[in-house]
Symmetry: C2
Subunit: 135 residues, 2 copies
């Protein structure tokens, strides 16, 4: 069993993600949102509150505030004040937001999928499982 080079795995992985993001950024912009706004949009269903989004996406709260503001202005989501806790805002995707999210993720999936295609189906499942454990 050879010793694993953590730094190398890190660097490969990081550069992979950055290069995929860079390559799709112009297409995503074409949908009317920025890459980071898409990441926010993509987590709204699972994490409908801004503070959670900030945590899960490792973003500062003010950044989330701003992305949400833009996404709302663009008609991709709307906000409701949580009646059980008046501090909280529940975010809800609009149909347009959901459609745009799907398109954006499809672009990302296409670019990332091109890399993932180097793995066979079983390996892709295995990777998903391992990343689940790491999350």
């Amino acid at each position: 069993m050879p010793k694993i080079d953590v730094g190398r795995i890190w660097s490969l992985n990081f550069r992979l993600l950055m290069s995929v993001i860079t390559s799709v950024a112009p297409d995503i912009t074409g949908l009317g949102l920025e890459t980071k706004e898409l990441f926010v949009l993509a987590e709204v269903d699972e994490h409908p509150h801004p503070a959670e989004l900030a945590g899960v996406l490792s973003m500062p709260k003010p950044s989330v505030t701003m992305y949400i503001k833009r996404l709302e202005a663009a008609g991709f989501l709307r906000r409701e004040i949580d009646s059980a806790d008046l501090r909280r805002h529940r975010l809800i995707l609009t149909p347009e937001g959901r459609k745009t999210m799907a398109r954006g993720l499809a672009l990302l999936a296409k670019a990332f999928g091109a890399r993932l295609a180097r793995l066979n189906s079983a390996q892709q499942s295995e990777l998903a499982t391992l990343l689940e454990k790491l999350g």
Copy 2:
């Protein structure tokens, strides 16, 4: 075999990297450089010219210019004009820069390694293999 969700793999992986970066950022700052400056420093040996660095790290050229300027001012690297091509600057790590790079990468490896520890040894190897294939 269920169809694999590329977007989900993407999201898990992206969130993993961001959370690791966020967790080590304060310690890296303590070394006297920013995270992105560390990434630049870490690629200088393999890619000693700014334009290459920009390509490999998926960063705009002006950003690289700025990071290099700071790294040079901090004494972590120096620049030589390539005598064969007066447009090019060859970057060279100083001993101090090399030491700081090693410390920074060690912090990163430690934080990432802590996540990796959730996997058993066989799973770590499997992950390494899969990510190698994707690089």
